[in-house]
Amino acid sequence: MNRKIAAVAAVATVLVASACSSSGSSGDAKQATLSKDGKGKKITVWLMDDAQKGWPGVVDAAKAEFKAQTGADVDIQWQTWTNYTTKLDTALLSGNAPDAIELGNTQTAKYIEAGSFVDLTGVKGQFENSDKWLDSLAASGQSADGSKTYAVPYYAGARVLIYRKDLFEAAGVKDAPKTLAELKDALAKVKAANAAVPGFSALYLPGQNWYTAASFGAGSFGVKGIVAKKDGDKWTGTLTDPKFVDGVKTWNDLQKEFSVGGTTTDEATQDALMAKGNIAAIVGAGWELGSVIDPKAGDPSLKDKLATIALPGADAGSTTPAFLGGSDLAVPAKAANPGLGATFLQIYTNTKQQTELAKFAIPNAKNLVAAYKAASPANKATGDAAEGSTWFIPNSPMWSGADETALKNAFGAIAGGGDPAAELKKVQDTVVKDLNG
């Protein structure tokens, strides 16, 4: 009881203080230095559990190298994506922020604008491969005008076509389709050959998978300025551009023709559904292949029957641009040891660690993608997709999960029978209003 009372009193005293002192000051962001002076110190780093489950060895190697160079220990605190935005919002506000953090590349802009990260521009040159970072990923870590760097690319992800070789071959499709037209022909054959299978999808395209739907739009519109582009200070929408709408119609035609039972869902269940056997192709991230044949949740007997290719584009040799998702790393401005945090990021993203990481995910630099592609045959397609043309959401601090929800729902409505142009107009109004604040 005494402890409780003491604590309550402590909170009460602090009330007044916190009410007055919460106004921080940050006109110019702190400039980073790379500190090697860490003897007896311990830095805190937030990494996503992707690394914990996927590439713990890379993290351990980086920790060891960091210890050797600076003498400091690293306390890795594993994070999950659930509710991560609230966690960042609050932790970056507080005096005891971690010394380095990972965050999604769609989350960076708002923290960069708020001055929550240390400015890495001055030391960027000392980060290996920093001149060859993947374009979309590098852009997500920069200020709006691209002049300053606040976040370091970590790894990327891209969606590809995962299909059932056996079903395609049984339907008479011997070679992987090279253009969208060929893909359409192939799917028509697969569909005809499996007409007797109830609920069969030659290509499963869930309506709310907006990244895939918008990729088709990007295929005809171009990869720059998807969703909206900036003219001076104002964002203007590009979703209603006739070329973009055309691309979306291509997606919608495929969806209507070849996809069964997914209009009101997103891609979360597509691997499990594909494992059930009545889906011949999906558009998914590279790891989803493993998910389909997972001995626990999927069907391991499909192992040799699956193949992946980058989603073909209109012409042979081109691809339908993939959305380049991924993660960035940054040093919070309120970190206790920003210099050591930056040094850890420098080590964690150097060529050695990234080459090792390339066995599990698309590394952050173009020159390392080859290592990724060589690591496994299944990686070739995602590597191709990442090297090919890719697109990204508007780099604006006002972009948020609400916009993604709005877009998911708009494409879901189109898949459900809504008029593409009208639905896109509606969501464009919403999103542009958000972006312009």
Binding site: R3, A7, V8, A10, V11, T13, V14, L15, S18, S21, T44, M48, D49, D50, K53, G54, D75, Q77, W78, T80, W81, T82, N83, T86, K87, D89, T90, A91, L93, S94, G95, N96, A97, G104, Y155, G157, P198, G199, A268, D271, A272, A275, K276, N278, A285, W287, E288, G290, S291, D294, P295, K296, A297, G298, D299, P300, G325, G326, S327, A361
Partner: protein, 294 residues
């Protein structure tokens, strides 16, 4: 509708006869039917944790696993973060429930037994507090706790949980306390109890059903709370069981392990359920004997 069910109840409690035994069986069947409907989603969750991929990939849902797999549970028990996070949840929950019940009970006695200036204001405030969306105040809540140096500590989370336990306990317990005739306290005092003796020997036992109901509610709210704990604990590197469960959700580099997540949720919930069922059996005799009789 409300009139139909209670009707025969009155008689049954009074006089169990042969005719009523048949009625009891009819009620039993209805009661079991209701329990079955309520239980189905839980049943589905449990068999999912045992299903092998053969059942998972069958085109139609299967209502009974063709063979049992314990792989999901294996994953959970091999996870070295499982027990520490469960321990954090247990400590936070215990602390916040005990604190909430003590603080709330005293407040409930005040509003149920006394008229005093500010009583209405206090009651309405307690109601308004429950209307405040937690999500909307999470940032200032963090600022306060951080200022007090209590972010990253289990005790900070316990204190934060008082926000929803105390008002609830006061509101709900009040309705139980007013039903205890105040003559009872006086009778006890006449019998030679001191004021506090009367309080502990009369009021407290009679409020037991209410205390259990509100205690269980608070327990479950605290046990299953995620956002406040996740946010406030962020700076300390600790997590609760709910936070631990999110480690099995989908990420950009792998799919969700639903089997493990379900098994984990089951393992996390089981202590609560067992505790309550055991507890319930122990106190139910006292409860059903007719609380007012003491």
């Amino acid at each position: 509708m409300t009139t139909a069910a209670p009707a025969p109840k009155v008689r049954a409690t009074v006089r169990p006869t042969g005719e009523n035994r048949t009625m009891t069986w009819i009620w039993n069947v209805i009661g079991l039917g209701f329990a079955a409907v309520m239980a189905f989603p839980i049943y589905w969750m449990i068999i999912t944790t045992f299903k092998t991929n053969k059942d998972l990939i069958s085109k139609d849902p299967t209502f009974w696993p063709s063979s049992f797999s314990f792989q999901s549970f294996q994953t959970i028990f091999d996870d070295k973060d499982f027990l520490p996070s469960l321990q954090n949840t247990l400590l936070i929950t215990l602390g916040s429930v005990v604190l909430g019940l003590v603080v709330g009970f005293l407040g409930a006695v005040a509003v149920a037994r006394f008229s005093f200036r500010g009583r209405s204001f206090f009651i309405v405030t307690m109601l308004v507090v429950q209307m405040v969306p937690l999500l909307a105040i999470i940032v200032p809540l963090f600022v306060v706790m951080n200022g007090a140096g209590m972010t990253g500590t289990l005790f900070g989370v316990m204190l934060a949980y008082l926000v929803f336990t105390v008002p609830y306990v006061i509101w709900t317990l009040r309705s139980f306390i007013v039903n205890i005739p105040s003559e009872l306290d006086e009778a006890a005092m006449v019998d030679g109890c001191t004021q506090w003796g009367a309080f502990f020997r009369v009021i407290l036992p009679l409020t037991l059903p209410g205390l259990i109901t509100t205690g269980v509610y608070c327990w479950i709210q605290a046990w299953n709370e995620f956002i406040v704990a996740n946010t406030l604990l962020s700076t300390g590197g600790q997590r609760t069981a709910m936070g631990w469960l999110t480690f099995y959700a989908t990420t950009p580099t792998r799919g969700a392990d639903y089997g493990a997540q379900m098994a984990g949720a089951l393992m996390v919930s089981l202590p609560v359920i067992l505790m309550f069922v055991l507890f319930q059996k122990k106190v139910s005799a006292g409860l059903t004997a007719g609380a007012v009789k003491g």
